[in-house]
Every structure is written in C-alpha cells, then in structure tokens.
C-alpha cells in the first residue's frame, strides 16, 4: 500500500517537474527565438545598408569597375578550368563517338541515290590506318632553348633530388 502511494506521489512530482521544466524551456525557446529574430533583423538591416553602400560606390566609379582585379579573375578562371578539365578516365571509358549512317540516309537525291561524304569530321575514324605510332605534338619546337630546358632533368646530367645521389 505505502509503496504504491509513494510511487504515485513520486510520479506526480516527477510529472510536475517535467511540466515545469517544459514550461521553462518553452519560455527559453520563445525568448531565444525573439532574440534570434532581433539579431537576424538587425543583420539584414546591416546587410542592406552595406549593399546600399556598395551600390553607391559602384555608381561613383562607373564602368571602370570591371577592370579591377583582372589578373585575379583570369587566374581564378584558369584554375576553375583546370579543375573542370575532363577526367581522363571518363574520356577513355565514357561515351565513344561512333559512326552512324543515319545522316547519310537523310541526304537523298530523288529518293534513289545517296550522297556519300567522307567522314573527315568524325572523331572516331572507323576506317583509318591501323598503326600504333603516336605522332609528335606539332606545337613543340625542339629548336628553342626553352623546350630543351623543359626536359634537362630527365637526364643524369640534370639536377638531382636531394634524396637521391648521382653516385
């Protein structure tokens, strides 16, 4: 009997406690929300003010603004392009440009003859010469000192890493 009563009281007490705590937390939340709203509002106002200031500055300097930091912009664009350079694996295993004959079928003359055009534009030359030879990069001019210097360290006569030794 006693034990059961006690337990009920405990439960009630605990319930009360919970309610109280909930109520407190609720009040806290409300207070916090209010504070946040105020903060956000103030920040927005500040931002708006800043934007207005910036706009004013832009208006003052006029069309010359775009010339600022051109070098920075160019280098950013270059880096972006470098990162976006197509993944080699994708280029190898991705879509293969295949020769389709559908184009030729469209170009019919009088419904009887077909115009057969050489497939020079196609990347994938189905009937090209089967050779493993890799033609050199035409942009490399091996007369130039600059080009020669680009491979100097490939030879034992070049500069060595600190970890390595020529001996």
């Amino acid at each position: 009997g006693d034990s059961g009563h006690c337990s009920e009281e405990d439960e009630e007490e605990s319930d009360d406690g919970e309610e109280e705590s909930e109520g407190e937390s609720g009040e806290d939340d409300v207070a916090a929300d209010a504070a946040m709203k105020e903060k956000i509002a103030s920040e927005e106002e500040e931002e708006e003010e800043e934007e207005e200031e910036e706009e004013e500055v832009e208006e003052e300097e006029g069309g010359l603004k775009w010339k600022e930091g051109l070098q920075q912009k160019a280098s950013d664009a270059f880096l972006r392009q470098q990162q976006a350079a197509p993944n080699l694996r994708k280029r190898v295993y991705g879509s293969v440009v295949e020769v389709d004959d559908s184009e030729d079928e469209e170009q019919e003359l009088g419904g009887l003859f077909r115009v057969s055009r050489p497939q020079n534009s196609k990347k994938f030359q189905a009937n090209a010469v089967d050779s493993s030879r890799f033609s050199p990069d035409a942009s490399h001019n091996w007369e130039l000192e600059e080009m020669l210097n680009s491979i100097r360290d490939c030879f034992v006569t070049g500069k060595w890493d600190e970890s390595q030794d020529a001996a």
């Binding site: 050779s131 493993s132 680009s150 360290d153």
Partner: protein, 372 residues
C-alpha cells in the same frame, strides 16, 4: 550482337580486336570494312595478317563475305611452334610482329617465327625498335629465358622488301605483375644507323648530325652503324635510324625514322634524318614515363593478363591507339584501369604530364601450355 560475340565497325584497330579475341576466346564480327571506299573490303595486308593468325592457332574459324566488308572470327587455341610467313609488302613486318609479341607468351609450344617482307618503313615500328624496347619490357613481366630473341637476318626497305626477321619466344603459364612507377634518369643513348644499297657513308652522316643535337644533354651516346650487303640487303635502297634512351631503372624510350621509300615523295638527306630523329627522341623524353609511346598497348595487355595482383605503370600521354586499346580491353576482359594524371612540379624540368595506370590482373593462365 551474339551472346558471346562482340561486334565492331570499320577496319581500324583490326589487329587489337583479333588479338584480344584470340586471347579471350570471344568471337568477334567486324562489319563495314571500308564499305564506302572506292576499293571496298579487306586489303591484302589484312588478309595476310589473318593467314598468319591462322598459322599460329589451331581450329580458328574465319568467314569473310564476298566483298570483304564483313569478317567473322571465331578464335581457336594458340598453338605456336615453327612458323614461316611471307608478309605483305603494303605494311612492314613490324605490323605483324606487334601482334605476335602479344600472342607469343601464351602459345602451346614456344614460337619460332620467320617473317619475310619489309623490315623498316614509316608507318610501323621497325624490328630494330621492337628489339630494343619491347623485348626488355616483356622481360620485366617475367617473359624471359632461353630462346627469347628477335633478329634481323636480312634487311629489306620499303617498297621492295626482301628482308627476313627471326623471332622466338618462350611460353609462360602466368605473367608477373609489375610496379613501374619511377623511370629514373636517362643514363645513355644507343642507336642503330642502318643503310642498304646506298653508300655506307650515309650511316656515318646520320650519326654525326644526331650527335650534334643529343650531345647537349648527355655525352654517353653510341650509335652503331649497320650496313648490310649483297643478299642480306633486300631489294630497295634506303637508310634510317633508331634511337633508344636507357634510364637508370631500366626503362627504354625510343624514336626512329627511315628514309622515304624509293619513288615515293622527295628524297631525304641523311643529315636531316638524323636531326629530325633526335628531335623525335627528345619529344619521347618529354612525354616520358616508364614505357615509350609505341609499347603502351603491349604493357597494358600484359598488366591485364597478369596474376590477380595490382600492377602499376607510369606512362606518358596516352596515344589514340592506346585509348582505343583500353576500350577493347574493357570489352574483352571487363578490366577497367585506374587512370591518374600526374603533373610534374614546376621546379623540375621533367617534361609533360604523366599518367599512372593501375589495374588488377584477371589472373589469366595459359591453358594452352603443355605441362612437362
């Protein structure tokens, strides 16, 4: 497309398709072979290649339609043994040998092939180049031992030919995986300047002009002069040069050039040939990697067919031929390589971007090989 067969269009990459088909045992059908050409169908050199393939295999089934625009190939077992073949003059022996190098380690009995035809021309790697680059490369994959040899018995220049090449290769049951990630620095340059049916002085003139370019990099240059006479000199005059740069870690980078065939285009001075060939070697050094551009596909094939372990090889930029080869490896063996681009650091003067190729071998074992 048949359930096991693969279908392709066009005559390009003809050899790699048939070689991979033979190794994987998958049937292949190639259609639209020069179907829009004025002279449609397979050329004589391709027919000659099919005949060679028929000689080294047992039970292959080849069907060609009447115009030669469609080819169906069902591979048999690689047999090997002693083979003699008269290669068509339209392409040099290198065209045929490139495929044989890929097939030879997987034969039933070791291959002893005698190939006759043009040994040196423009379009294909010459025998001298394959001897000095492909053979040491294959040794790294464990294909080595007695009777691994390639030699020019008679030299035959385009267009007349009349050359003879002997190739023998031992068989292996498995291929060793490799880790070739650091080529090392180039320690010496070797070469062969050959001349047939012209003045032997031509070779010396080539050597002098080549040295003038390469001496600014390294003093250790030796270029052999090879002048073949009489019956060993083939039917057409010509000369040429093969250069090989050897690195400290045993990688070989090569470049080559041969004179314009008699009666085709402007004749070339030996001095120009030497200088241009030296520049081609510099280009190859700029590309770099542990394997030169003409042996990329052979390397990738041996990596694919290795034991079930990781293989890594550093290559220069991938050639269009190699890229297509990778696609074909995916089709025939379902192996995709991991391809990582390595950019050299700016303070190092080591040429262009390199590509690190990684794969796990399919664990191919040579079921044709006889057990002793």
């Amino acid at each position: 497309m048949a359930s096991q067969g693969l279908a392709y269009d066009g005559c390009n990459f003809f050899r790699q398709r048939l070689v991979l088909s033979t190794l994987s045992g998958k049937r292949v059908k190639i259609s639209n072979i020069r179907s829009k050409d004025d002279n449609p169908g397979l050329r004589d050199f391709e027919a000659s290649f099919i005949r060679l393939l028929d000689k080294v295999t047992n039970g292959s089934k080849i069907e060609i339609n009447q115009t030669g625009t469609v080819l169906f190939y069902m591979p048999g077992l690689l047999h090997g043994g002693s083979v003699e073949h008269d290669c068509n003059m339209q392409r040099s022996v290198g065209y045929y040998l490139e495929a044989l190098l890929m097939l030879a380690p997987f034969m039933k009995t070791s291959l002893k092939a005698t190939l006759r035809g043009v040994t040196n021309d423009h379009t294909d790697p010459t025998i001298d180049m394959l001897k000095s680059t492909a053979l040491p490369l294959m040794k790294k994959f464990g294909i080595d031992g007695e009777g691994f040899d390639l030699k020019v018995v008679k030299r035959g220049m385009a267009p007349g030919g009349g050359g003879e090449v002997f190739f023998s290769c031992p068989v292996r049951r498995t291929i060793r995986p490799v880790q070739l990630t650091d080529p090392g620095k180039i320690k010496r340059i070797r070469g062969v300047a050959y001349s047939v049916r012209v003045s032997p002085q031509m070779a010396n003139r080539i050597v002098d002009s080549t040295r003038s370019v390469l001496n600014q990099f390294i003093p250790d240059i030796y270029i052999y002069t090879d002048h073949m006479k009489g019956a060993n000199s083939g039917k057409s005059p010509g000369f040429g040069l093969t250069l090989v740069a050897e690195t400290l870690n045993g990688s070989f980078l090569s470049a080559e050039m041969s004179s314009t065939p008699q009666g085709q285009g402007d004749p070339m001075l030996p001095e120009d040939l030497g200088r241009n060939c030296a520049k081609l070697l510099l280009e190859e050094v700029h590309r770099g990697g542990c394997v030169d551009s003409s042996n990329q596909s052979l390397t990738l094939l041996l990596m694919t067919l290795g034991q079930q372990d990781v293989s890594k090889v550093l290559l220069g930029p991938l050639s269009p031929y190699t890229i297509e080869f990778l696609r074909h490896i995916k089709d025939f063996f379902q192996i995709m390589f991991k391809i990582e681009v390595q950019k050299p650091s700016e303070d190092k003067r080591k040429g262009g971007d390199k590509v690190l190729m990684t794969c796990v071998g399919v664990g191919y074992s040579n079921i044709n090989k006889t057990l002793k």
